[in-house]
Symmetry: C2
Subunit: 141 residues, 2 copies
Amino acid sequence: MPRANEAWESLMKAYAVLMKQFNAEDVWGELTMREYDVLYQLSKCDSPLRMSELNRHVLLSQPALSRMVDRLADRGLVDRCPDPGDRRGVRLSLTPAGRETQRAIGRPHARSVARALSVLTPQELDQLAAITGKLAGNEER
Amino acid sequence: MPRANEAWESLMKAYAVLMKQFNAEDVWGELTMREYDVLYQLSKCDSPLRMSELNRHVLLSQPALSRMVDRLADRGLVDRCPDPGDRRGVRLSLTPAGRETQRAIGRPHARSVARALSVLTPQELDQLAAITGKLAGNEER
DNA sequence: TCAGATTCAATGCGTTTGCATCTACCTTAA
DNA sequence: TTAAGGTAGATGCAAACGCATTGAATCTGA
């Protein structure tokens, strides 16, 4: 059990250090990192995403995400249309401009990520992906 | 290089999932998770900590941290006294009440962490700690 | 079939955040 | 000694956040 807490603390520290490092990089242009994250999550799904689904992948409260999508839609980066199957819901997708913006920022950012993780061996990268994947899979209790 | 990006994405997802899980737990009382993090960082150092040092460990901008410490000091949880060696600086430490609060919240939270990470084997915990430790160590570029 | 419970997303509101800037102090070197 | 440059932390201000709540649509069981 102390091992678990050490591991979690170490993960948190790595997250903080790398996030600060990435945030300081001059690649974000007109977006914040959080906004980029939303665009990135949308870029991964070809079929439109539900608000609640997107919210599961983003570290924001539901109202904050709702308003952020609002702003991104106003800026023409995200398309928000009503879900025909569930009229409470909303279907989110990137506009062409949104996709373009995501790619333009994603390219240099991906390089930064690769550079930051280049201290790890390929085996370590695989282990890290496997272990964190296992952690994220265990969503419920 | 695609491996590095997969690993980072997986780490981010694990972080997001677990943070949401922890945040939803009913253990935080009068504190937010970010405030708890500040108290926790202070609880680890017996000698008073400098603002800038603390800022390195917390995912907050310098002004945001400055004001958070302000509020925590107003609430009697943190002691902020001028550094005799450098009169620009500040020495931060927990008050007895702050230490008590940190412990009261830290205990159940540590149990949650252990529970969430219980899907991993002891070897995986060690690997995770080692790998993330390596990542956090590489602070510059 | 329809009342109650649940889910999805939006909105009101007070608090917190980040950016830019400021003041105060330290350091260096001429 | 002192002027120039750098660092530590605080503050003004607009933007963004979280909590609580709402309105609307769906689901559920009697």
